[in-house]
Symmetry: C2
DNA sequence: TGGCGGAGTTGACATGAATCAAGTTTCACA
DNA sequence: TGTGAAACTTGATTCATGTCAACTCCGCCA
């Protein structure tokens, strides 16, 4: 990994408090790579050789069984994934693929485990990171199990709007079939869901979305910080 | 907490490597309590005052939104729950209730955070525990999203059989309506699912289950270690 | 011992969402 | 600027599950 990337990675919460020597050890064996969209980065069941860090772009974590497949979570910068598998030295439970063009740091798992054993600050940062991952999955599961597809879309749009700075109109950052997968529904159903949201003042033109009356949409969406607040 | 409980708690992986003084600090403020079935221990949204440890019995983690409720995971001895909320000092994302008569240790969250800051062995143990919790939720989510209710029941029975030592017949440890909630289906549907499993050699008499031909049942259930192995 | 009540079952029906099969629009590229 | 492929939409149908209501079974105890 060229030195220019060191500072980017070092800025991540997971790495910022750790000892300089430990950090150097991790970086020596690691590298950063750019991936195009739709590349499968890891496959469930395989041993966890690398800790992955999404520096930019987005990664979809998904799982398969008996010929079926489902999206589990979306990882956005800047965070790690498969940290749990790495630290337990256990096989991946999920597969991962890039949703967009993404820049990803790969750090050998054995180095991570070695540094974890010696660097206390790193061990502590890892707790915070794992707790965050855990809570993200829980929130995603609540979104999925408690809401209908229409409600999931409504809340997704409100979250996107907030992320985009609160403007009445903003762009979807996925193509629609991808968004459907992320929201756990078929593309056909997403189409119908968008149509259903017209009644709540949502206009869609390609990837451009306009929310006429956020209050109205929120009455349907009923957003809850315990599901929708990414900082919690 | 009477001294007699100290050894039980100390035996847990999370607490076994930590400094004796730190352990003493945690135990001083904590207590063990027996709860009858169906008691709500914590409610989502509340601040995380205590780290809970299930010593015996079983606890259901569930979540609600907009009048709906869903079971998220079942916690069995010996493990903790809401560790992530405790360490982040963030509100609970899930509620918890006892499924059976349960013995639960309650450790003040602020003590846990204080000891976490000073005891390196404890911080490391916490990483393992959190990684385990994370992977448990992921497995539960896979079970739920990828399998039909019939398949979930079939796999549940095979897991129970393994837990009971592999004998052809064993007892369900829940009453059926409770089992239905755990498996994420209505009691009516569970009834139908059991009937559907007759064709695969499953006999049910009250809470007593007999699996005539595990091979046959496994052909339907298609158990996968990446979902069903509790040690992974 | 009769009858009350709760768990469990069963059948009829409603609903949400996936699937299938056409269409239609969009857009890159010749 | 035309054309083909891919993305998207739409309608019809199917499937899994939940819901509602009736009914059985069984134990308990007045």
């Amino acid at each position: 990994m060229p030195d220019s990337h060191y500072t980017d990675v070092r800025a991540l919460h997971l790495f910022e408090a750790m000892d300089a020597g430990s950090f150097e050890t991790l970086m020596r064996g690691s590298y950063v790579q750019n991936f195009p969209p739709q590349i499968e980065l890891i496959t469930e069941g395989e041993p966890s050789d690398f800790l992955h860090v999404v520096l930019s772009g987005a990664v979809d974590l998904f799982a398969s069984w008996n010929g079926r497949e489902t999206s589990m979570a979306t990882v956005r910068p800047i965070s790690t994934f498969i940290l749990a598998a790495t630290i337990k030295d256990a096989p991946y439970l999920m597969s991962a693929r890039t949703l967009e063009k993404s820049r990803i740091a790969l750090i050998p798992s054995q180095d991570v485990r070695a540094v974890f054993d010696t660097d206390n600050a790193f061990a502590r940062a890892m707790v915070t990171e794992l707790a965050h991952c855990y809570r993200s999955v829980v929130k995603a599961q609540k979104d999925l199990k408690l809401r209908s597809s229409l409600e999931r879309l409504a809340n997704y749009l409100l979250r996107q709007q907030a992320r985009a700075g609160g403007a009445a109109d903003f762009a979807l950052n996925f193509e629609k079939r991808r968004l459907a997968a992320v929201l756990g529904m078929s593309p056909e159903n997403l189409s119908r869901a968008f149509k259903g949201l017209k009644a709540y003042g949502v206009q869609v033109d390609g990837t451009q979305v306009t929310i006429r009356d956020p209050e109205d949409l929120a009455r349907l969406a009923k957003p809850s910080p315990l599901i929708d607040d990414p900082t919690l």
